[in-house]
């Protein structure tokens, strides 16, 4: 499980998650993920294309991050880029209806500006 980020223009932060976001992996990255979403500018794109597995604990971290962004007037979106396993998990739990999910990175960042 790995997490890294980069800040781009207009206050957008890209957070890249990779590996196995099972219960153990999610607990491992949750504190850093929370800190990164809380300290971001006005928008966060979470890149999930390299995530091999997404557990309910991982989803819990995503929801907490999205709420933190919303509380400060920002927004969080997800970039899945053809990752069918992760997309199916997000759809099965209805999280894609709460946190917008995009196949295309430009569409994801455009959504933050709209």
């Amino acid at each position: 499980m790995a997490i890294r980020y980069e800040d781009v223009n207009e206050g957008v932060r890209r957070i890249f998650l990779s590996g196995r976001l099972d219960t153990a992996g999610s607990e491992q990255i949750a504190p850093e993920f929370a800190a990164l979403t809380e300290s971001a500018g006005r928008g966060v794109v979470v890149h999930l294309s390299d995530v091999k597995f997404l557990s309910s604990m991982g989803i819990r971290a995503l929801i907490a991050g999205a709420k933190a962004q919303q509380a400060k007037g920002g927004r969080m979106v997800l970039h899945v880029a053809g990752n069918e396993v992760v997309a199916r998990t997000l759809e099965a739990t209805g999280i894609d209806e709460l946190i917008p999910m995009f196949e295309d990175e430009e569409d994801a960042e455009r959504a933050l500006r709209s």
Partner: protein, 152 residues
């Protein structure tokens, strides 16, 4: 024509902690691949196992944490109809996930209303084809079933 059934069973005992759970996932993947279970079905079983073990660890209480968790994996094939059964036995508090249905966890209307609790059960329900449960000798026995078809 007589039914052709090939039972195959693998077993593993682990501690009830999230890091030993990783060993269980490796065991499941290895056993499933050895028995030619399609990757898509392994992914489903993998999700169910992670959520089932997380429930044991987080909600099973002290008895669950102090006792080993026993896992069994069976694959059966009959004229192209295939069934994989993953059983999880733990000594935790009595809990029957098979009674959980989607209407017990309605989808939140907004992000603000979202409560992550119960998502694990939603995932087990969504990724399995059947769940069965019994309580025996002070242990929970949960059996998760996934099915698929193959060309005979």
């Amino acid at each position: 024509m007589p039914e052709s059934v090939t039972p195959r069973r693998a077993e593993l005992t682990i501690r009830a902690d999230t890091w030993d759970a990783r060993r269980a996932f490796a065991w499941l993947e290895s056993a499933a691949l050895a028995h030619r279970v399609p990757v898509e079905q392994i992914v489903r079983l993998d999700h169910c196992l992670d959520e089932a073990l997380a429930n044991v660890i987080k909600h099973g209480g002290p008895a669950a944490l102090e006792s080993p968790v026993q896992l069994q994996f069976d694959v059966r094939r009959s004229e192209g109809a295939c069934t994989a059964e993953l059983s999880v036995a733990d000594a935790g508090t009595t809990f029957d996930p098979s009674t959980f249905t989607a209407d017990k966890a309605p989808r939140p209307a907004s992000l603000a209303a979202a409560n992550p609790g119960g998502l694990g059960l939603v995932m087990i329900r969504n990724f399995s084809d059947d769940l069965s449960y019994c309580r025996s000798e002070n242990r929970n026995h949960l059996t998760i079933t996934v099915t698929w078809t193959e060309a005979p």
